[in-house]
């Protein structure tokens, strides 16, 4: 950027030439840089470089590593398709973590969107304290991804944690270890994900306010009650927003890492082993980096397929604004 700044300055006010030849070539360079096409490439150069250097090259390189046995420290050794054969035929943990991750993402995302929509509908009614309400519902999604909340969650669901104390208030006295039980542990992570519905709620609120009120007026003139107005007007007009959030948030769900890594570490008995945590362990604690790279590529592919399938279903349920 420093270069561009000097170019601009000298472009407006050319320095006195030291020698005729030098000045001419200097001026030509400036005139060349001043062209719109050149300026466009110069200005987008950071992204072109970054995209190639930090996304394309690492991905391409790692595609090669998926065909190798690579322990990070030594040299990669070419082993053909062995990593993939091991993954699909000899690795129960691959299937286990894939199952856990899909279960987590496909349960928590719709639940989160449903809560977001319900609360957005509740908050659509304005009052003097609706600002406070919105802030309270939004705060968890600001903080939810932090390590602080993860360690808090771990404590809350401990045998002597807040959740059991709260249940005690309702007469259910228990020392149940939520994180130690094979069927309940994953639900603590799902609850944590659903708890962060605030940002989706804001998006729904914004979209809800864009629905023209004439539509509702016309509907009530025709005798439609609130219930059918919701199903016939509100929900169809929200489907583009729902679709976009469904895609983005389930992808995020497939890739959940930090919360699982800190709260459960896959325990008990791998029932909360997320794909990303398994990939991390394989690559960086067991040093099977080639295998880890193969896991990453399989996940990329699965996300691609998943997104593609969702886009194919789009025309059946998503309202098309252009149509």
């Amino acid at each position: 950027m420093a270069i561009q700044a000097t170019v601009t300055q000298s472009g407006g006010m050319p320095n006195p030439p030291q020698s005729g030849v030098k000045f001419r070539s200097h001026g030509r360079l400036i005139r060349f840089l001043q062209k719109e096409k050149v300026a466009g490439v110069v200005c987008s150069a950071p992204f072109i470089f970054g995209f190639l250097m930090f996304l394309v090259v690492p991905l391409a390189l790692s595609l090669y590593y998926t065909f190798t046995d690579y322990n990070i420290i030594g040299e990669p050794r070419f082993i053909g398709l062995d990593n993939y054969i091991r993954m699909f035929t000899k690795d129960p943990l691959f299937w286990q973590s894939l199952g856990v991750t899909f279960f987590f993402a496909l349960i928590s995302t719709p639940l989160r969107l449903i809560f977001a929509l319900l609360v957005a509908l509740l908050l659509l009614r304005n009052s003097k304290i609706s600002g406070f309400y919105r802030a309270a519902f939004y705060l968890p999604s600001i903080l939810g991804g932090s390590v602080a909340v993860a360690i808090l969650w771990k404590q809350m669901f401990a045998a002597d944690g807040v959740v059991n104390k709260a249940l005690g208030l309702f007469g259910i006295h228990t020392q149940f270890a939520w994180l130690g039980n094979e069927s309940s542990a994953i639900w603590t992570l799902i609850i944590l994900a659903v708890w962060q519905f605030g940002s989706s709620m804001l998006i729904f609120l914004a979209s809800l306010k864009q629905i023209p009120s004439e539509l509702y007026e016309a509907a009530s003139v025709d005798g439609a009650n609130k219930w059918s107005q919701f199903w016939k007007i509100t929900l169809p007009l929200l489907t583009p927003t729902i679709f976009f959030n469904l895609v983005m948030q389930s992808i995020n769900g497939f890739l959940a890492f930090t919360q699982c890594y800190i709260i459960t570490q896959g325990k008990p008995r791998n029932t909360t082993l997320f794909f990303m945590v398994y990939m991390y362990d394989e690559s960086f604690t067991r040093y099977h980096a080639g295998y880890g790279a193969a896991l990453a590529w399989v996940m990329l592919l699965l996300i691609g397929i998943y997104t593609g399938v969702l886009f194919l279903t789009k025309r059946f349920w998503v309202y098309d604004e252009e149509a």
């Binding site: 170019v7 490439v41 309270a136 914004a206 930090t258």
Partner: protein, 305 residues
């Protein structure tokens, strides 16, 4: 892409559809209305309860944190947990971790926003070959999440000799690799009338001059929104710190907190919650003072905040 583009509508602040029944209800309070507020208020309190509980627990004597976990307000208020927490680990004060985090977050944020702004200007305003491809690349970089890249990027940085340093945490961001920020600023630039560019051009301004003298001063709101998001994401970033920072002294806050949570270290719950509360302070402050920008960012992009 059908992205929820609703930047003008600000659900957090604007009460544009003012409640016409608000005045009359003062004299004639309907039970329905009370029921509504009771339900919503209870839900709102339930949502923030865990965080409030954590913050208040940090003021309890550490032995009482678990023993009185059913009780919200401490019986004895104490700051001991904060003194113990800031002592940190193995002679490294917790202030050091905060300093590390601030350094990483601020440099990466400045780099991201500066580079994203100029790239956004190029894609949104200038005509050059490959512009459409760049737009697609930008969307791709938005969809490609950092987690799935952890192994590929680690192996690449390993080759570059960047592991065990802050470089992977800062340098890539200076090259606008997070498409989200380009997209955010592009959206904003699209709203600036092109006649301003043309007027500047007639006055002899170069394309670079237009960016620095015309566009830059006008995109401040988008830049503020971008800075807020970038800072919060960098501050909370745990994964890349876990991968690339191995020196305890150079840990950022997120990784240092993990030390408290490790079963191997002493379980000083009071100090743990005290430092956890400190770690969420920047996000809470940003939330309190810049809510409007946050909401704008969430609504324009439809992305997770």
């Amino acid at each position: 892409m059908s992205i929820a583009t609703v930047s003008n509508n600000d659900p957090m602040m604007s009460n544009s559809h003012s409640d016409d029944k608000g005045l009359s209800s003062k004299h004639h309070i309907r039970p329905q209305r009370i029921l509504y507020h009771v339900i919503v208020m209870l839900c709102a309190l339930l949502m923030v309860y865990p965080i409030v509980w954590m913050v208040l627990s940090s003021f309890k004597p550490t032995a009482m944190v678990l023993a009185t976990s059913g009780q919200l307000i401490p019986t004895h208020w104490t700051l001991d947990n904060y003194f113990n927490g800031f002592k940190g680990f193995a002679g490294t004060s917790f202030f050091r971790y905060i300093g590390n985090s601030l350094f990483i977050s601020i440099t990466a944020t400045i780099g991201t926003i500066a580079s994203s702004a100029i790239v956004a200007y190029a894609i949104s305003r200038l005509k050059f070959p490959g512009r459409r491809i760049l737009f697609v690349a930008m969307l791709l970089s938005m969809m490609l999440p950092a987690q799935v890249l952890m192994v590929p990027q680690y192996l690449w940085y390993q080759k570059l000799g960047w592991t065990n340093s802050y470089l992977p945490l800062i340098v890539p961001y200076c090259f606008a690799i997070q498409g989200f920020f380009i997209y955010l600023i592009m959206n904003f630039i699209d709203g600036i009338p092109r006649s301003l560019d043309e007027a500047a051009k007639l006055d002899g301004c170069s394309y670079y001059g237009i960016f620095f003298r015309v566009i830059c001063p006008l995109i401040t709101p988008a830049v503020v929104t971008g800075c807020i998001f970038s800072f919060m994401w960098r501050w909370d970033d745990f994964l890349s710190a876990l991968l690339y920072v191995s020196d305890t002294e150079r840990y950022p806050v997120s990784l240092a907190l993990k030390l408290f949570a490790d079963p191997s270290s002493s379980s000083d719950y009071g100090a743990m919650f005290a430092m956890a509360s400190v770690s969420i302070l920047p996000s809470v402050l940003i939330f309190l003072f810049f809510q409007r920008y946050l909401v704008e960012g969430v609504s324009t992009s439809g992305l997770k905040g």
